[in-house]
Symmetry: C2
C-alpha cells in the first residue's frame, strides 16, 4: 500500500499512539521493531494539543517526530464511548470533553478538516459505532447515519481538494458498520464499496461480541468489499484473531492489547517458531508479576538487543517496585511480538503457506 | 578514583537508582550522558528484591545490567526516615518494612554483609543521620553510635575479608555526622579520618538546614578530613550547591533533584556556557507544564541526539496527557544537565579556573 510517507507491506499491525505518543516508546524504537505505520486519534488530538498547535508544526508527523505513515481514526468510537452528554443534532455530535467538560461539536466535515490539519496519511470518516449486543432498529439508524456521513465526507474531501495540506496526498477510508446483522453488513459493504474510498474498514467489531460472531461477520462482510482496496479490521485483536482475520481477507490491524496488557505485566512470548504449519500462532502469555518469576534468570526476549540484556526476574522487580522502566521493557516486548507475528504472516503468504 | 568496575574522574555526580533502576532510563543511556558511576540503596535492595535474588545473579551489577561502578548507600537514612516503629536495641535497628509492615533488623555487620552480596564498588557504613534542627544531646548520642558502628563495620569487613564476594574489591566509606555543631563535626572528621576507610562522606546535610549552615559545616569539616581520600557530600544538591561544595573540597555527589524534579516537569536548562568565569552556574529552570510552552517549537535540548528531535511543545503535551514518554525525556534532560555540569567543573579544575 502506498502512502505519502512511504510504502507499507500488508498485512500490517499499527502500534497505537492515541494521544500522539506510543506508551513510553519513541517512534524510532517501534520502527526498529518493524513497525511500518502507526495509529493516532482525531478526537484526542483535537481536544489536546488542539488543531492550532498541530498546525503550527505543519502536522502530526512533525509535532510528534514521526517519520512513519500515520493513520488517524476519526474519533467516532471515542465520541460515542468516552464523552458525556452526547447529543446528535442533524450531522453534529454535541458532546462534553472527557478532559475538561467543555462543550464540543464534531461533524463529518470537521473531522476531515481536523485530519487535514493533522496531515495523516490515512484519514477515517466519522461513523457511528454501536456496541454489541444491539437491536436491529438501533443498528439500522446508526448505519444510515454512517452512510450519510461517509458520502458527505468523501464529497467534502473532493471539493476541498485538501487545500489546507498542500503537498501530502491523504487517503480516505470508509467504515462498514451494521452490527451483527448480515443484511445490514452486506448493504454497508456494497454502498461504501461503491464510493471512491481508498480503502474500507470493518468497524463495530470487538465491541462486546463473541469471537464466533466476529468471525461470522468477517466471513460474509469481507468478500462483499472491493477486492482491490485495502481492508482494515478496526481494534482487533488477539494473535489468533489476527491470523483468522487475515484468512478472511483483512490487510490492516490496530489494537491496544499489546500496549495495554504490557501495563499490567502481561507479556506475549513466542514458543519457538511463532507461526506453525497449521497456521496457528505458537505463543503463551505470562504474568511477569507472578512470584515464580522473582528469580528467573532467563532473558525477557533473547532475540531483542535491549530485552536480551534483562532477566525476567529484573522485569518482575521493576513491576513490583513500580519503576517506570517496567512499562518501557514490557511494551517493547509485546509490540515486538505483534510486529514479529505480522512479519511471519507476510512471509507465510509470500510462500503460499497462508 | 579506582573502583573494581573502572576508574572514575572526580568530582562526579551519581545518578540515582535507589531500587536498582534509574527512573525510566537504562544504565546505557545515562552512561551515554557521561555518568561514570551510579548510586543504589542497601535498605531498598534488601527489602526488594532481597539478598537471595541478588545473590542468585552474582550481584547487583548483573541483576540490573549495569557495567558502571555502583555505590550503595547503607540505608541508615532510609531506616530513620521511611520505616515505622523504629527501635534501637544495642547495635540492632528494629523496624517495620515500609512495604509490607514486616519486622526487620539491620545492624552494622548485616549492612556490610548485604553490600557484600550486592557487590557494590563502594559500600557505606551504617550511620545514624539526625534531621536539622536538633539538640546537641541528640546529635552527640547519634554521633557516638555512628562512630561505634563505623569502627565495628571496618573491623568486620577486615575480618570477613569479604569472602562472600571473592573477586571484587569493594571500597568502604565512613560517614561524618555531628549535625551543625562544629566541635562534633571536627571530632567526627578526626575519629573517622583516623580509621582505615577508603573515603569519607559528609552525612547529615540537606536535611532541613539553610544553605548558609550547610556551607559553614562544609567549611570547617572538609579541611579536617584526610586530604588523600575522596570526600563525598551525601544528597546534595542544586547546581550552585555543587559548585560551592567542590570549592570546599568535595569530590562526590548524589541527589534526587534531577530525577524527582523531572517527574514534576521542572527542567534544568543551560544558558549558553554552563560555567561562567566567575565560577557561577549559568542556568535556569522551566516548568514545562506552563501554558507558555504549549506551542514552543524550540527543541528540549539542541545538544542531545534524542532531545533535539522533540520540541518543548511536544514535551508539554506529553506531561498534559500523562504520557510515560514525558518522564523519560525530562529525566534525560535533567541528568544531562547535571552530568554536563560535572564535566565543566572537571574541565575548569584542570585548567586551574576553579
Amino acid at each position: 500500500m502506498a502512502t505519502s510517507s512511504g510504502r507499507v507491506d500488508t498485512p500490517f499491525f499499527m502500534p497505537i499512539a492515541t494521544k500522539a505518543a506510543i506508551k513510553s516508546l519513541t517512534v524510532a524504537e517501534v520502527k526498529d521493531l518493524g513497525a511500518q505505520i502507526i495509529l493516532s486519534n482525531t478526537y484526542h488530538n483535537y481536544l489536546r494539543p488542539g488543531v492550532s498547535t498541530i498546525k503550527k508544526f505543519g502536522g502530526l508527523h512533525q509535532f510528534m517526530n514521526c517519520d512513519l505513515p500515520i493513520l488517524t481514526d476519526s474519533g467516532g468510537y471515542q465520541v460515542f464511548s468516552l464523552s458525556n452528554l452526547r447529543k446528535i443534532k442533524g450531522n453534529n455530535i454535541e458532546f462534553r470533553s472527557h478532559i475538561d467538560g467543555s462543550l464540543q461539536i464534531l461533524n463529518p466535515k470537521k473531522v476531515i478538516d481536523i485530519q487535514g490539519a493533522l496531515g495523516s496519511d490515512i484519514m477515517m470518516v466519522l461513523d457511528e459505532c454501536v456496541g454489541l449486543p444491539t437491536t436491529k432498529k438501533k443498528a439500522q439508524e446508526a448505519l444510515e447515519r454512517t452512510h450519510r456521513w461517509a458520502k458527505m465526507s468523501i464529497d467534502y474531501k473532493k471539493k476541498l481538494g485538501l487545500k489546507s495540506v498542500k503537498i501530502r496526498k491523504q487517503l480516505l477510508f470508509g467504515i462498514v458498520q451494521g452490527a451483527d446483522f448480515k443484511d445490514l453488513r452486506l448493504q454497508s459493504a456494497q454502498y461504501l464499496g461503491g464510493l471512491d474510498f481508498d480503502g474500507l474498514a470493518v468497524g463495530g467489531l470487538a465491541v462486546g461480541e463473541s469471537t464466533k460472531t466476529m468471525y461470522e461477520v468477517l466471513k460474509y462482510t469481507v468478500p462483499a468489499l472491493p477486492e482491490n482496496k485495502p481492508h482494515y479490521l478496526m481494534g482487533v485483536g488477539y494473535p489468533e484473531n489476527i491470523i483468522a482475520a487475515v484468512k478472511y481477507g483483512i490487510d490492516m490491524f490496530d489494537c491496544v492489547i499489546p500496549t495495554r496488557e504490557a501495563r499490567h505485566g502481561k507479556l506475549y512470548i513466542a514458543n519457538g517458531k511463532l507461526l506453525m504449519a497449521s497456521g496457528q500462532v505458537n505463543y503463551k502469555t505470562i504474568s511477569i508479576t507472578n512470584a515464580k518469576f522473582a528469580k528467573d534468570k532467563s532473558p525477557i526476549n533473547k532475540d531483542h538487543p535491549l530485552l536480551k540484556q534483562y532477566s525476567k526476574a529484573y522485569l518482575h522487580h521493576l513491576f513490583k517496585t513500580q519503576e517506570p522502566l517496567a512499562l518501557r521493557l514490557a511494551t517493547l516486548n509485546n509490540l515486538k511480538f505483534y510486529l514479529d507475528l505480522m512479519k511471519e504472516i507476510r512471509r507465510a503468504i509470500k510462500v503460499g503457506k497462508l
